[in-house]
């Protein structure tokens, strides 16, 4: 999430089409699964992620629909389940790709943007939206009401601002699956386009 407070900017600042002002300006709609979450954070929109991952590159929407054969080949090569036939992608004139992927773990559901160069190497990645379910507390209102109920229920809403949570580390091992799936998607399909 960008806390740009843009309304308070000077008019000169308003004229500057700044990176941070891109928040909410993108017209791209995401039709990903919405997981009921205890905790969600939005960091970047697609346009911002594009600018961070592939700066100064002109990107053209290049979505791909995988055939069932391609889907099975990617699954076999990456050893990772391919949930959707639709690859949400953009391509630069130089052959770079920007791909949108959803990383689904046991307790987390994360939208990520990955940049690949023209040789299929991963140039970088950014988390766009992060959603985490803490567990059964969502379905047990009595349990969550037993202690600091108001505060707890507030936390169960989508966070309006980025809140820092200290706790035991959440593993990012599912990202590795996403990277494997993407590199095999490039290798088997995108490189030939």
């Amino acid at each position: 999430m960008m806390n740009n407070r843009s309304k308070q900017r000077s008019s000169a600042e308003h004229q500057r089409r700044g990176f941070l002002k891109l928040a909410g300006a993108t017209g791209i709609s995401l039709t990903f699964l919405s997981l009921r979450s205890a905790h969600a954070k939005t960091y970047l929109n697609l346009e911002q992620a594009q600018k961070l991952l592939l700066p100064n590159k002109s990107l053209t929407p290049s979505n791909v629909t995988l055939t069932d054969v391609q889907k099975k080949s990617i699954q076999a090569a990456s050893k990772v389940r391919v949930r959707s036939n639709n690859v949400v992608a953009w391509k630069s004139g130089e052959g770079d790709w920007l791909l949108l992927e959803q990383i689904i773990g046991k307790h987390e559901n994360i939208d990520m943007a990955f940049a690949l160069d023209s040789q299929g190497r991963v140039l970088g990645m950014e988390v766009l939206t992060y959603r985490e379910s803490y567990g059964h507390e969502i379905r047990h209102p009595k349990w969550r009401a037993q202690f600091h109920g108001k505060d707890s229920s507030e936390r169960l809403k989508l966070d309006k601002q980025i809140k820092n949570i200290s706790g035991a580390t959440l593993s990012c091992r599912h990202v590795t699956d996403g990277v494997n799936r993407i590199t095999q998607t490039w290798n088997l399909v995108l490189r030939h386009l």
Binding site: G135, I165, T169
Partner: protein
């Protein structure tokens, strides 16, 4: 340093998978967007560097080179590795051996750490809690017996410190590496501490007491503890969340393990200018 961030300030918050978890960096200031991007890029690069040096999972990290080659031979250390091993040396003495990173054999045997090729030693469980056989010289280290170190109990905190150190003092920055948090401007700031058990978790809001906080709990591991008592070579179980506030995140991170093992005495916490917060699975503060 007291930095006033005006209403015109911009904030950039980014998140990347690093250090085996998700690392979030937030930078604010009355500066051009490009400056925020450059500053956050530097901070992420600093974390990437710590990962490349201290990861057990990377067969070619500096740590893996040490684990493989330091038995009876001096290994030269990077300034960062020397700083972390020096801190461990101090903490090991102060906690009477409770903070000891030579617990990797237990984690290797349980499958929590990988037996990659460059780590081809097959250290028996008996070689746990043997930091006394690690000799630290001036930017070099050697082992006097088979030792396998895992820096999982301290490196994440160090990475937070390194990232914060990259940020210009005119900016406001928060780094959150999977729950280990450092803030350039922490006064009057609050954080949420996650507590509970595997299936039932909630958060408790707390005021920051220092610039950094780290927490340890077992709810991420299906109740299985990955905090190993170096004296018994056993995983020590607890349903509590142990949080430590400290002036630097490396100290906070390491002291949560000492606290988990019951070794964070008031004297030790005072020496490190740290404070301990223990929250039980029901959200009650025990300390």
């Amino acid at each position: 340093m007291n930095v006033e961030i005006s209403d015109l300030a911009s904030t950039l918050t980014r998140c990347k998978p690093l250090l085996g978890t998700y690392v979030e960096i937030s930078v604010s200031g009355d500066v051009a967007d490009e400056t925020l991007i450059e500053q956050s890029n530097s901070a992420f690069a600093a974390i990437q560097l710590v990962q490349s040096r201290m990861s057990f999972h990377d067969a070619f990290s500096e740590l893996s080179v040490i684990n493989q080659n330091a038995l009876n031979d001096w290994i030269e250390l990077s300034p960062s590795m020397f700083k972390v091993l020096s801190k461990i040396n101090q903490l090991n003495k102060d906690t009477d051996g409770s903070f000891d990173p030579s617990i990797a054999p237990v984690l290797l045997n349980s499958g929590s750490l990988p037996r990659h090729q460059s780590c081809n030693h097959d250290a028996p469980i008996a070689d746990v809690g043997v930091w006394s056989n690690v000799e630290l010289g001036d930017h070099r280290v050697r082992f006097h017996s088979p030792v396998v170190l895992d820096l999982g109990g301290i490196a994440k905190g160090f990475a937070v410190d390194q990232a914060l150190a990259c940020i210009a003092s005119s900016l406001v920055c928060t780094v959150n590496a999977g729950g280990d948090i450092g803030m350039s401007h922490w006064k009057n700031q609050s954080i949420d501490i996650l507590f509970g058990t595997k299936n039932r978790r909630a958060t408790k809001e707390m005021e920051m007491r220092n610039s950094c906080i780290a927490s340890s709990a077992s709810y991420r591991n299906n109740g299985r503890s990955v905090i190993i008592n170096p004296k018994s070579a056993q995983a020590q179980k607890s349903n509590n969340t142990y949080s430590v506030f400290a002036p630097d995140c490396m100290t906070a991170d390491a002291l949560t393990k000492a606290a988990w093992l019951g070794a964070a005495t008031p004297e030790i916490m005072s020496k490190y200018n740290a404070s301990l917060l223990v929250i039980d699975q029901h959200g009650q503060s025990l300390h």
